[in-house]
Symmetry: C2
Subunit: 661 residues, 2 copies
């Protein structure tokens, strides 16, 4: 074979496409989306506090925590944390703006970001979403101005992803009309809780509610844990100590030794205890109630995803600017050394990451838009299907964005060599601080299983509701019929083929590689094929009487692959749609090329699958690789504009050693 | 397609292979290799100093550095650093033992490892390899007992990988019979130099040697930089400050302002200045001289590779033990929750990494064995080809092991969820400290280019010699004929086919998937095909008159892929050979299964390429994926023994939260 292959043509002028020219302002407007003004406000604030980025390098942990706390309080008092809260409590009533603000904050120190997220997003969000008017009136004004710092005490040492199995109990005592909060064992201590070690005064504690001897599942209760800096009686606090990153956040553990709070401290939007001690909920089914409660907290995942994309942008701008300054090894005797970004491999390392970053930015904006829509026209029971689809999209996008951040930051750090290892050049903090994003607000693999479950049930099943994980239980309870209908997925493929150039049979060999409809059809085909395959395998396993646990274990990687393929399709779709909506301009051509690069690099990365399933021929697969290389060369001249468009103030970008003065 | 695919069979008893049973002692002997006793000594020492692993979490940088320095000095005074040095200076004369010792040290704190490496490996190694008897006698006894701490001052801010272009000068002054060391500009300051910021007293400085107005290229000179803790006149030192990791190592920058040292301070094994001021070298060609000097320092790369594998073992043992304790989500109503490692996806995440770790351990032992052989029967000019092949193998193995370490540690950290993020559980340090391994002792991409160049020239070219990078120069100087011969690579493929079951045409469709000869032939085919392809593309580009820089840039990713494929083949070969040499036993069956898993996972990861190049059919490709899944289920019951075999003392493993008491 080796001797007969045609020599590959590497002539960059093969198709002689017009050189690209980009206007960073147009690209920036594209990325900033509808909340550019909010983002600019945050940019200004970041510049004001940029000194922390350098100073933190030599601050002891205790002092760093203080600095970070002060900044979070100042974010609150400036009103910048209030965008997403109702106007009547001093908020802005604009959820989209609050996501945009949070995302932009991620250009700066990530301890500040995460501590803000804990305070205003998780803690404030829980009070808002799970509480009722009396909680809102009493707490929200203080929460969102940073006067009352709090915790979101959900995770326990023994149970992270499986929230339904938490061990902490909240038992109603009719004699005193109080709830008694108890940590029955060390596995049930609250763990990794932000704001718990030092600053939090009030905690939203998730616990198994028992009323009149009957368990009603996990509910949220407000429990004071500190007053004037002193831990309250019955509460035990332990500092989680040194962490891999986010050292400015005071994570801690909490134990409750029969701590009593008034009945009114139950956050009772979805279930309440009447004055006569009767438990009452508008949602009959306990699972459904639980997942409805959790579902209201979806903004946390959307925020983490957005923060991850933003943090990856900081790394990429540094690496691209470095690659446009740093020369190494002369091209010929006596000539000047070559810029790193003029090396083909360096382009391969950095530019597809940039393309993916643009794609994920579009996907993230789409999630934020839907979040805004669903939560702005609010009754939680209203459109269950839309809510579940949103939760699924948020979960999947969070998984892909956070993995992307880890990967991109690592690649950029390596692309900056030894200098990338110095803490002053930002990568140390970027790597360490974002590392936990892949596991917090839901472990990414668990989240993708949630996505898969939604796909398998078309968001309409009610037998187990949207469990965070529970795929094994799901398989156990599997009604074979539920999946049969879904297996009709192949009908969708027929439709795809019909609309594509070349008709039903040859769409994939005749369509232009650079046709977004072809690219999307490829990703759709993969997604549908994989979901149908998972459905068949689950069905076959359950039908054969194999224990559910075994069936699921054997199919699990397929389940996760299917979910990932689904989200990849959503991401490309979001990018394609945004580019199509853009008015014609040279910058739009840049975006189109970037979108092609993202689409083809995504197909290329999984070309083994497409070849196995007859959707790529060997020559076409090789053609895609050549096209990716051609796109890299085309985009190389606009690399600087692509990162300038992030709009990261240079004071915040830092890394002077790498990016220059 | 979706509806007509056969349902995949996931029945684990499909081939009913015998259950595996492993004896950790046998596996440990396999991994420890010929220097088990040396490794055990280091294990004992690590237990003695295990407290540092916890204490370091809260130590300020200055104090951590002191602790680390004291430990390095104690390693020296205990004689444990002397294995590789000649007996006449207090050493053990056993290079293999010194590698084994260094590797095992990597189970502990990695600042101690790296600072030891700087002191005994780089600094001591340079004095030994580049110096002559007078340097050995005067310095080695103090160096290898840790009484004289020193630096290896090669890298400059402006030049990392391209050492030949260093800016520091060493000018011979015949009037005073001295060498004058000068840093001409800030780009030429020595940067990231271990031991420079605080502890080093003597530095091996790499500088452009000028004698009588003539430049002779880079040479190494001994330059005192401190006495009794005080920086000497003419030397300027700056602390590199906070780093991503390895905070116990005092990296610094050095400037020399016409610092004068006696002529005898030139490390003059390969070139000397006579008393009359004449430059004289046994190696005429300056390039060849330079690369011969550098080549003697190959042990550094071998050490880093070994350290990376060992560090990844710590992460994997923690993650596997955690996955065998942690239960999450019950399999059915009321049943116990499922162990993480019983989830198929969790097996997919961890077990192929383990298999690869065993493979890389074998590859690493093979490099160490060859290093020992070449350097124990020593005349540097003797067998150039063997030396170059060793350098290439060391470079390639270092690239693969260090990337593997980054990947494995990251995956293991994620597989331990939130608890993995706490510094007490080891991952923080493992991640941060090993991160630089991918770029130090040579950036991995640059190293793979060195490998590719060796392959293209069959280690026999002398026109540019073994440059560390310089592929562009290489292409510029390309004699088309040089490559033609190499393009005969396909003849090798013919030979491979001849020896394989099924004969020339069908070997790849009829051979058993679990036949190591088949697996190796697949990797050999890929390697040869890619090297031949690179040769043809370079030839075509140069032949067409395209500027060398452009030709190289376009082919660079292909070059790196070819080099990687070569090293992958060496790795599998080393594993297969070691397993074949093992006497029959149940543990050998475990190793054989692990070797199959590694081989098939490697092929699976690049199945796109094999499908594109007609070496896999779609059904066979899918069969490989099924076989990988079957191997995961087979190996699951011996997972604990596979990590016990690393022989990491539990005090050193730490991470009690994760692995239990």
């Amino acid at each position: 074979m080796a001797a007969t292959d045609a020599v590959r043509t590497d002539d960059p002028t093969r198709r002689a496409p017009a050189p690209l020219a980009a206007d960073p302002a147009v690209l920036r407007a594209f990325l900033d989306g509808p909340h550019a003004a909010v983002r600019d406000e945050v940019r200004d604030a970041l510049v004001e506090h940029a000194a922390l980025l350098d100073e933190r390098l030599d601050l002891p942990r205790a002092e760093l925590r203080r600095r970070v706390r002060d900044l979070v309080v100042e974010i609150g008092s400036s009103g910048r944390a209030a965008h997403g809260f109702p106007r009547e409590y001093g908020g802005g009533g604009d959820i989209g703006a609050s996501i945009a603000s949070f995302e932009t904050l991620a250009y700066g120190d990530l301890s500040v970001l995460v501590k803000s997220g804990v305070q205003f997003g998780l803690f404030g969000g829980a009070v808002l979403q799970l509480g009722t008017r009396r909680h809102h009136e009493r707490y929200l004004p203080d929460v969102l101005t940073g006067r009352l710092l709090g915790c979101f005490a959900m995770t326990e040492t023994g149970h992270g992803s499986n929230v339904q199995a938490l061990g902490t109990t909240a038992t109603y005592d009719p004699d005193t009309d109080e709830l008694v909060i108890r940590t029955p064992d060390d596995a049930s201590r609250k763990d990794y809780i932000g704001n718990a070690a030092e600053d939090g005064e009030l905690a939203v504690v998730f616990a198994q509610l028992e009323v009149g001897g009957e368990g009603h599942g996990v509910h949220a209760v407000l429990v004071p844990i500190r007053r004037d800096g002193e831990v309250l009686p019955g509460v035990r606090v332990e500092d989680c100590g040194a962490k891999l990153g986010l050292e400015g956040v005071d994570n801690g553990r909490l134990w409750f030794d029969d701590v009593r709070v008034p009945r009114e401290n139950l956050l009772d939007r979805f279930a309440t205890i009447d004055p006569d001690g009767t438990y009452r909920s508008s949602i009959e089914n306990p699972n459904r109630r639980f997942f409805t409660m959790l579902g209201t907290l979806v903004q946390g995942r959307v925020s983490v995803g957005g923060g991850a994309v933003a943090a990856s942008k900081v790394a990429q701008e540094i690496a691209v600017r470095y690659a446009l300054r740093r020369r190494q090894f002369e091209a010929g005797a006596g000539s000047e050394e070559t810029l790193l970004l003029d090396y083909g491999m360096h382009q391969r390392r950095l530019l597809p990451l940039l393309a993916r970053t643009y794609a994920l930015s579009c996907a993230q904006q789409e999630v934020a838009r839907r979040l805004h829509e669903v939560f702005s026209h609010d009754t939680p029971e209203a459109d269950d299907r839309a809510r579940r689809a949103l939760e699924s999209r948020a979960a999947g996008t969070k998984a892909l964005t956070t993995w992307h951040a880890s990967e991109a930051i690592q690649e950029c750090r390596e692309a900056c060599g030894g200098a990338g290892y110095l803490a002053a050049n930002r990568f140390a903090a970027l790597k360490a601080d974002t590392d936990v994003f892949t596991t917090f607000e839901g472990d990414n693999h668990v989240l993708l299983q949630l996505v898969a479950k939604g796909l398998l049930t078309d968001y309409s099943s009610d037998f187990e509701d949207l469990d965070q994980f529970g795929m094994v239980r799901f398989v156990t309870g599997l009604a074979v019929d539920t999946l049969v209908e879904r297996t009709a997925a192949h009908q969708l493929l027929e439709r795809i083929r019909d609309v594509l150039p070349g008709g039903r049979d040859s769409w994939d060999t005749e369509a232009g590689i650079l046709d977004p409809d072809y690219q999307l059809a490829m990703l759709r085909f993969r997604e549908e094929h994989q979901i149908a395959g998972v459905a068949r395998r689950l069905k076959a396993g359950v039908g054969a009487g194999t224990p559910a646990g075994e069936v699921f274990s054997a199919v699990q990687d397929h389940v996760i692959a299917a979910a990932r393929s689904h989200v990849e399709r959503l991401v490309l779709e979001a990018f394609v749609e945004r580019v199509r909506a853009e008015p014609p301009s040279p910058s739009r051509d840049v975006l189109a090329a970037l979108c092609d690069l993202h689409a083809l690099a995504t197909i290329e990365a999984d070309r083994g699958w497409f070849l196995e399933h007859g959707r790529l021929s060997a020559p076409r697969s090789k053609a895609i690789t050549r096209e990716v290389s051609a796109l890299l060369r085309r985009l190389r001249p606009v690399a600087l504009e692509l990162v300038e468009a992030f709009g990261i103030p240079s004071e915040v970008l830092g890394a002077r050693d790498l990016v220059g003065p």
